[in-house]
Symmetry: C2
């Protein structure tokens, strides 16, 4: 039986695109349904009653929630091609550690920078974001991917911020190429993959969304 | 070669005991070293330079960090007995979802309740904590364990809060047996396992630590 895969998503989000990349890496067909967070669908509320958040992957009627958990699920169920998690338990633990780091560090700092007024708050958010990016750059080292020689779950967790780089630079008035050249090279390398480039948003649209959020909040 | 296992821990914490339970479920010997968070050891800083947090499991000199990541690592490396994660990918995703829920919900609310002044703040923290416990109780349903028929990683994530129940009750002035009878029964069932009872702290000592924290903060 062919699998029925429905993805409840929001295009402008660092989370749902991770699932799309993983599905595309595995060569799977899926139906994506855009959610409106101000008016959540009854399907979303039914499928993720505890968190009520996207992304949710509905696989033959059964929901799997949380982006990194979904990526691991996809890797475990469709293990015939493009392994996303390393086979070695130590390397797998490393991928999980950094996926968690990205969620606990990058997302909250990015949110701060998004709405920080010009001046001290913006400078503090920018400093914190660049420190985290530099920590990640050190971890990347001279490898082509965070997963080592091949693209994997650790890369997937971070690459969905690639389309936010432009907004970060414009809002924080800095240059990613100057500050984190290896991270930019890594991002370009990942973007050569169709699974990635097809799943990420337009950086200009994201920057415009940031400006709109700031306008609404009166920043 | 016998594995050398060193656990950098703090006894009074919901995190490190998870690792001890997993190691004991697998019948593994380990050396536990207590850390002082106000004066972290050079070993901790070397082994977890990014987060600088316990627990860290050092396996033959290599560090694995973050309690749930360590539990998964232990389960993957020593897969000959006592499986901790379910073999079915959907059930494994469910265990990961709830482990994440416990870390993102229970821990922050418990911290709030810990230091909330009597009155409105305490009532709000207590309400939020009980709501989360009831959500978990619904998920448990009529099963003996969160893992179903057998004790597993989802149980491990939550059981390390069992020794905090007494402090929660005393601080919030409520009865766990009245509010969440099934959760209490589940906790007692888990405590019959030596792996669990040997790894958890004395509830009275935890309550005293809460009172001491409140005294220092002037609550």
């Amino acid at each position: 039986m062919a699998s029925e895969l429905i993805l409840l998503e929001m295009k402008v989000s660092p989370f749902a695109p991770r699932v799309k990349i993983a599905l595309r890496e595995k060569g799977l067909e899926f139906e994506a349904r855009e959610e409106d967070l101000l008016n959540k669908s009854s399907l979303l509320l039914e499928m993720n009653p505890v968190r009520k958040q996207i992304p949710v992957l509905i696989h033959n009627g059964k929901p799997i929630c949380d982006s990194f958990t979904i990526v691991q699920y996809i890797d475990e169920v469709w293990n015939h091609k493009s392994p996303l998690l390393p086979s070695d338990p130590f390397e797998r633990a490393r991928a999980r550690f950094w996926a968690d780091y990205i969620d606990k560090k990058i997302y909250p700092i990015a949110k701060k920078l998004w709405i920080a007024p010009e001046g001290e708050s913006m400078e503090a958010a920018k400093k914190e974001l660049l420190e985290s990016f530099k920590t990640l750059e050190t971890e990347l080292g001279e490898q082509p991917y965070f997963g080592g020689k091949s693209f994997g779950a650790f890369d997937i967790s971070l690459i969905t911020y690639h389309c936010y780089f432009h907004a970060f630079e414009r809002l924080g008035n800095f240059s990613m190429v100057k500050e984190c050249p290896k991270l930019v090279e890594w991002g370009e390398r990942c973007m050569e993959k169709e699974s990635v480039s097809k799943s990420l948003c337009d950086p200009i649209a994201i920057y415009e969304e940031a400006l709109e959020t700031r306008r609404i909040l009166g920043v």
